[in-house]
Structures are given as structure tokens and as C-alpha cells.
Symmetry: C2
Subunit: 500 residues, 2 copies
């Protein structure tokens, strides 16, 4: 059987990535039906002019992600129980007419997409899951007070539609906060209130992405961004990261419409984009007419040195959009964030938001606006920044105590760090599984809400650990258990390696 | 100058509609630059093989909507001040390379869209604006009590991400409510909590609409739906309505992916889709593999007879999606609604919602769930249904008292009615302007959040009046002022005409 896959040898995406993506789409689109055996790796390699090893790696990944199943004696075939939702979304159609051959029998929906993992899959006693604020730090008393105050003067604001861009008081408070905290000088009209940064990303995607639009992202990058752009049929362009963040030199010279970056604390690696690269990135965007999406998801937590000015604060050409969220600094259950756009895009972004959902709930906005204006937000940030820095110190200390001079990144800020495992350790997924058996959640990149295009230096040997939602007892006990699990292995526990 | 417009004489869209849409896109896409003179109507008519009158009507509409400007002695040209947002969203690009000729000088974003009008443009003393609940009926005391109760036991729910589909308790409460109120039997997993029905529509669009997807709607229809599908580059197919609702016989025989309908109280005309047509519509969808989007925006208010079972309650083939909202029954400021999908689509809809915004705020959902479960919602509905029926009676009485046996539609349910003006009255927009000068807001279809494809029987001679947010004094005074305004005209005030 010939599989209709076409490789673009000029593409920046690896052959492996291209084969994987096209295979996945053939399966999800129903062109390869459940139960269909796949060609032998040698045959497919020959057909595509790729190495057999590449094809084997793709098959491994398709099996790992649940698209294919392999059975001794039977061989490898398309799974009956697919990991996504699209094939399920077909229903019988009666009496197909002759010109309906394509869809006869079932009507597939055109949507192809997968959801990012933002919720930890299991309830574990010691779960270093990522991006979760401390559950006990929610300012519940203040919140209750501000809600009751807002309700007392609500008037018609609970029954009426308002500006879809958001409550003016909140937009103003955010604009002011951004000036002081991130060096960004914007007017309130440029701030669009969103349901978390995911909705902000959606506004961006709706503004810019059509079938085949080139969107560059860090590799590895945040899953919620990659999956979203993918669901809009963007063509994703992976760009490697290293200790100084996105490797700007490796961006394509043209053709890219958007580049998505996490400069404060690269997700998932925790790197900070250097000032030199920030300026280069803006220059690149200016030269080739691209827009930068700056996701500043956890910049509120800076533990060492002073924060670098946000890209949007450095930009003089109106080519940066800035995503902020209160999900990390206050609580994800609020579903509150914002998108800041250049002046020229403000009206269009407001239109997209109107079409999306006519704006955000009034009460939540009123309370948040007052929370910031009254200074409670600044106090809250100070308090939890201190708490998280203690937790980070505790985690680093425990890792060093058990595993020696561990190589870590992402310590300067944020809510998680990345642990680079030395060569003689089990791989990231093996360690994750070992820990899981002890009731401890630590995460390889792919299972830690990151998207790994493959071919990235960090894939196999990095685990990520969130520390913001665990108290020091849980951190100590969790790391102890990992050490116990590793001690059961022949490998020696540690070797001195340079720390970033 | 040859304008690149291509007409499809086999299309169900009128030639006028086709020319208008293509012209609009040429302008918004920047192909026709501000200041460009348009061809003489005779020349364009010749080029297109259309009548000169058709072209003149298109030019009139483009001028009315602000795309073109006409100046004595200069002629008609593309406006410098366009009504939409896309051209504004361009920014200079430095040093364009030779292969960037297309975008050199400015980079336009691909988004083409316009926002629906959900907020009345002016603050008027007597504003019969549509779809607005009574501002004094918001159950504020109960709401405050339920919020404080929910906050007392919030635990980690304010800080954590949860199921993007929504809070299980709320989904269950809605599923139960729909069974009793609308004859719809669904499981909670089929209910996705959304930010009002506009977000529900977005989920539908993301699931089904790609460039060129055929989406049928009523003509005239709700602007928020038409503009949304249009922004996803759907090809809209208008289908006429009459007193029995959507004229199912006039649906295309195939090729349509979605049909958007408002069966309980057609927006804007107020007609109820007859049971016979409901069954025919479902049968049509089953036969040609289309899906029906049932927008039941104000079905909570039924004043005469018992409500017809919702399309989703009649559907045995899984071809109906149902949009519900609390914006009309409680308050638009809550931004809370839901989309109910067939079982086969539940997983995909949940994925789209996750990608869209990771789910709805927890507190709002918890409060609404308890509001329904505790019976407060049923009581609230009973109370405001009574209130609105009194207001409707008052409005009808006043209209009859001043204008005789007026021809009205949409009396059986909902929050607004349509007034069909007799031949000798001023046109709908003239009457709207007359009223406006008296401080009274009444609305022609196009200015009343409706979308009129043109060619609809009701366009010029229907005004719509919302009555739910005005008290009886305001209603009486408002209608009195319209009568005063009309009395200043030579036309006689009324003629006896049959009431629907």
C-alpha cells in the first residue's frame, strides 16, 4: 500500500516530524481506517526516500501516542481506540446520493485538534505538576470583600452587554501595572481582557492564522500554543532554544507571520531570553514583517536579579503582542488574563473578542480591577513571590542533597525548574515512571505540557518539576522518594556537572 | 478599471449580495485602496452582465455601510475612513526584499471581520433595544448568598484548572432543566459551558467551518451568527422565513454543512418554526448529512400556549446542536451559556473549548449550578415571565391605541416583537430616525442586530421593539412620542390590517 505522504526536503521541519504529522492527519482524517495495517518500515522508507531508522522512529512515536498499535504476529495497524476525537465525531448519513461517495456512510467534521494537558492526569501525594499556584494562598477574604462591594453597586452591569474589549477600569489598572512591572507603555485600549492567556492566544490565531500560515515557535515549546496553532492549520516552524533562549539566528529569513516565545522563563526549559537576543528578535520581526507573540505567563516571579524589560517594552515598531495571565499569580479557576496589542491592532482584536464571546463576565473584571488598584495585588505578589522562592530553594537544596551537583535551569524565575539528567541516569520518561510508582509526579517534557518537535537537545534527558503548589514537607518527601527509587537501580546517584 | 468580481448565476445568493460581498472584500483586503474611484454603474453592470439597477443598489448599500463615499463633482470612491478594522491593522515593514512586493510598505492581517451590535449605540430615555433583561430583576440577594456560600467551600477550586467542558454540577443541572423545559434528553457530558451563546457558536464554527464551508441561515438572521460564520470565511446561504419560520423547502438539496436557526422566536421576526417544518428540517439534515444549530436564545419566555419541543428533542439522528444562554433570562453581564452537542461530538467540542480558553471561571459556574439546583432559577423565570408578559401586553395595547389594528409578529414568546408597517407609513429606517429625534429607540432590521442579505420581504417595512427592559411608564411614553412624531407627517396614522 502506497501511503500518500509528501516530504519537503527544503523544510525546516525534520523528515521525521513531517512523516509523523502527515501520518497522524491521514489517520484522523479517516483516510487510514482503524485496523488498517501500516506498510513495513523498509517499504515506506523506500517509498519516501527516507532512512528506515527515521520511519521506525515515527512508528515508535505513533505507537507511543496511541495512533498505531503493534501486536506480535499481526504487525502494526491503525488503532481502534484513537487518542483524539475526530473520528468519533462522525454519524451515519441516510441514502447517500451518488455524488456523496466521499462522505457516504459517515460525515467527518473538518476539525482536527488535540487538547493541551493543563490538569495533572492523576491525584498524587507528591505532584510536581507545573504552573499551579499554591492553593492556600488565594486571597479569599479580600476577594469576598471586593465581590460584595462590587455587587452592592452593580446596578445594571450584571444584566447588560458591555465593551467586548473589557471593563475600562481593569484595562487601565493592567496598563498601569505593565508600565511599572514590565516596562511596557500602552494605553488601556490596547489591553483586551481574556479568559486566561489561552484565549489571548486564540485572539492572535484568529487575527493571523489561516491554512498554511507559518508560525515559528521555540522547540520545545508550550503545548497549549502549539496545539492551538496546529488546530488552525498553521504550518509550525520549530526553532531551537539554548541557555540564552530562542536561537534567533535560526529563524527563517522570511515567510513567517508569527513567532511565539516565552522570554521571561522559557516553557518548559526555564531559560531567560538574553537582552541581545531580544533586540535581535525585534529587529528580525521588523525586517521581515512578522509579529512576535510574547507569552509572559509567570514573569511575576523573579527571584534573582531584576527582570529584563519585556519584548513589548523594547519594541518601537508595533510588532509585539503580549500575553499576560492571572492564572499563575492568583488562580487558574478565575480564568482571567489579557492580551496587549500594538495600537494598529487594537480595533481588530476587540472585534475578534466580540465575535468570540462578547466580552468577559463583569463581576470578575470589576473585582480584579479593584484588587489591582487598591494595592492588594502588589501585596499578594510580594507575599507569594517570597513563598515560592523558599520552595524553590528547598527543592534545589533537596535535589543537591540527594543527587549531588545537579544541572538545573530556570532557577531565576517562575514556578518550575528543569533538571538535566546526567548520561548514566535513566531517561526522563523512565525516571518519571520510577517516581510515579512511589506516588511522585515529575515530568518528561512531552508529559509536562510541553510540545517537542523531536530533534531537540533536551528531549530525552530533562525532567521538569513545578514547586509552587507544594509545601516544603511535600517537596522533601517527594525528592526523598525519587532518591529511594533511584537507589534501587545499579546507576550511581550523581556526578558533578556544571550548573547553568 | 476592471473590478475582479465573479458572479455565480447558479448561486442561491442574489447577484446583488454577491457583488456587495466581493466588493467589500476587495476593499477590506486592500485590493481597492482608499480614495480609489469606483467604475460608473453602467460600466460595471456591463462588465458583470448584471442590470444597472443591481449595481446601483450595491453602491447604495456600500455607501450606507461606509465602504464608499459619494461626493458631488468628484464621484464615488473607496472611503478613507473604513467601517472595519482590518486596514488599520497594517504597519510599515522595513527594507522589503524583492520577493515581498505583495506586502511591501504594509503588512495586512488576514482577519476580515466585523462585530455584531449587542450594545445599543446611544443612551436614550426610551430605548426599545433588543434582548435586554430588566435591570432591576437580577436576583442580586440570592446571587450574593450563593457566592458567599461557594467561596466558603472553594478550597483549591479557585486556583486550579478543571475540566474545560465545565463544572459537572452545572452541566448536570442544565441537562435536567433541558429535559423538563425543552424536551431534550441529554447526558451532562454533552453540555459544554460557554461564555454566552456567542462562544457556543464559536465552538460550532471551529468544529465545522473552513474556507468556503456552506452555512445556511435564515434571512434575515441574527447578526452575531452571520458575522461570526463570515469571519471564518464560510459561504453563507440565505433561506427565506415566513410566519411558519424558516422555509425548509428552499434549503439547498446538498452541500450545506450547517444550518443556523432560531426556531422558538425567529431573530429578528419573532416567528415560531412550525412542528411540521421542524420535522422536515430534521429529515432534510439527516438526508444530506448536515448539522442544525438551534439557537434557543429567548425560549424561556413563552406567553401563549405551550412551547414546541426543541429541535434537539425531536432529533433521533444526532444532527442537532443546541445553544442556550443565561444572558436573556438572568443577565448578559454574567457571560454564561451552554452548547449541547450530540454524543458523537461531545469529545471534540470539549477539545475545542480547551483550546479556546481552558474552560469557564469556576465561581460563576458553581453559583449558577446551585441557583438552578435550589429551584431559584425556576422561581426567577416564573417571576420575570410574568413581568415581561405584562410589558408585552402594555406595548401591544399602546401600539393598537395609537396606530389601530397594527400588524405584529413574535407575540407568543420572547423579549421583542416585530411591527410590520403599512404601505402608507414611512419606511422602517425613516420611522427609526423620526423616533430617534424624540429620544426613542426603535429599530429597523439592519440596525436591530439583524443581518439582512437583501431580497427579504420584510427588510424595508419592519421595525423591531424590545420590551423586556422598559417599565410600563417608559413603554407608554415611548409609543406616545412615536405617535406624536408620526402625527407631524401627512400620512394617516393607521389602516386596519390582519394581525399574524
Amino acid at each position: 500500500m502506497e501511503i500518500p505522504i509528501e516530504l519537503d526536503h527544503g523544510s525546516r521541519q525534520s523528515l521525521q516530524g513531517q512523516i509523523f504529522e502527515q501520518f497522524r492527519r491521514l489517520i484522523l482524517g479517516g483516510r487510514l481506517k482503524p485496523g488498517t495495517p501500516v506498510p513495513a518500515s523498509r517499504a515506506l522508507a523506500e517509498q519516501l526516500g527516507a532512512s528506515r531508522n527515521t520511519v521506525l522512529l515515527v512508528y515508535d512515536r505513533l505507537i507511543a501516542e496511541g495512533y498505531l498499535q503493534a501486536r506480535e504476529a499481526i504487525g502494526t495497524y491503525v488503532s481502534f481506540d484513537l487518542p483524539e476525537t475526530c473520528l468519533a465525531a462522525s454519524r451515519p448519513v441516510a441514502t447517500p446520493s451518488p455524488d456523496q461517495v466521499e462522505t457516504s456512510g459517515c460525515l467527518a467534521i473538518p476539525f482536527l485538534g488535540r487538547a493541551q494537558a493543563v490538569v495533572s492526569a492523576r491525584r498524587l501525594a507528591f505532584d510536581f505538576w507545573l504552573g499551579r499556584p499554591d492553593p492556600h494562598s488565594f486571597p479569599i477574604k479580600t476577594w469576598r470583600r471586593l465581590i460584595n462591594k462590587a455587587l452592592a453597586t452593580a446596578g445594571a452591569r450584571l444584566t447588560e452587554y458591555r465593551d467586548p474589549g473589557g471593563l475600562p477600569e481593569l484595562r487601565e489598572a493592567i496598563a498601569e501595572h505593565l508600565g511599572a512591572a514590565r516596562g511596557i507603555s500602552v494605553s488601556p485600549e490596547q489591553v483586551i481582557i481574556t479568559a486566561g492567556s489561552q484565549e489571548g492566544l486564540n485572539l492572535v490565531a484568529r487575527l493571523f492564522v489561516r491554512d498554511g500560515t507559518l508560525v515559528a515557535t521555540e522547540n520545545p515549546c508550550y503545548q497549549g500554543a502549539a496545539f492551538l496553532f496546529e488546530s488552525y492549520c498553521a504550518k509550525l516552524v520549530p526553532v531551537p532554544v539554548n541557555e540564552a533562549g530562542l536561537n534567533v539566528e535560526q529563524l527563517p529569513k522570511d515567510g513567517v507571520m508569527l513567532v511565539y516565545v516565552t522570554p521571561s522563563h522559557q516553557y518548559p526549559m526555564g531559560f531567560t531570553l538574553s537582552l541581545e537576543r531580544r533586540l535581535k528578535l525585534i529587529d528580525w520581526a521588523r525586517r521581515c514583517g512578522a509579529y512576535i507573540v510574547e507569552d509572559d505567563y509567570d514573569s511575576d516571579f523573579r527571584y534573582r536579579g531584576s527582570p529584563l524589560t519585556a519584548l513589548m517594552g523594547l519594541d518601537e515598531h508595533g510588532c509585539v503582542m503580549y500575553l499576560g495571565t492571572f492564572s499563575k499569580s492568583i488562580g487558574a479557576g478565575l480564568r482571567l488574563g489579557y492580551l496587549v496589542v500594538p495600537k494598529a491592532l487594537a480595533q481588530a482584536a476587540r472585534t475578534v473578542k466580540a465575535l468570540l464571546d462578547n466580552g468577559h463576565p463583569w463581576l470578575d473584571q470589576a473585582v480584579m480591577g479593584e484588587f489591582i488598584r487598591s494595592g492588594c495585588y502588589a501585596n499578594h505578589l510580594r507575599r507569594i513571590r517570597h513563598l515560592y522562592s523558599e520552595r524553590r530553594d528547598c527543592l534545589v537544596e533537596e535535589l543537591r542533597r540527594h543527587f549531588g551537583d545537579v544541572r538545573l535551569s530556570g532557577l531565576e524565575s517562575g514556578m518550575h525548574l528543569a533538571w538535566h539528567l546526567p548520561e548514566h541516569y535513566p531517561s526522563a520518561s523512565e525516571l518519571q515512571n520510577l517516581a510515579l510508582r512511589q506516588g511522585v509526579g515529575i515530568y518528561s517534557l512531552g508529559s509536562g505540557a510541553a510540545y517537542d518537535y523531536g530533534g531537540c537537545d533536551y528531549s530525552g534527558r530533562t525532567v521538569v518539576l513545578g514547586f509552587s503548589s507544594l509545601d516544603e514537607y511535600q517537596i522533601r518527601a517527594g525528592i526523598q522518594r525519587i532518591a529511594d527509587a533511584l537507589a534501587g537501580l545499579p546507576a550511581s546517584p550523581a556526578l558533578p556537572v556544571a550548573t547553568y
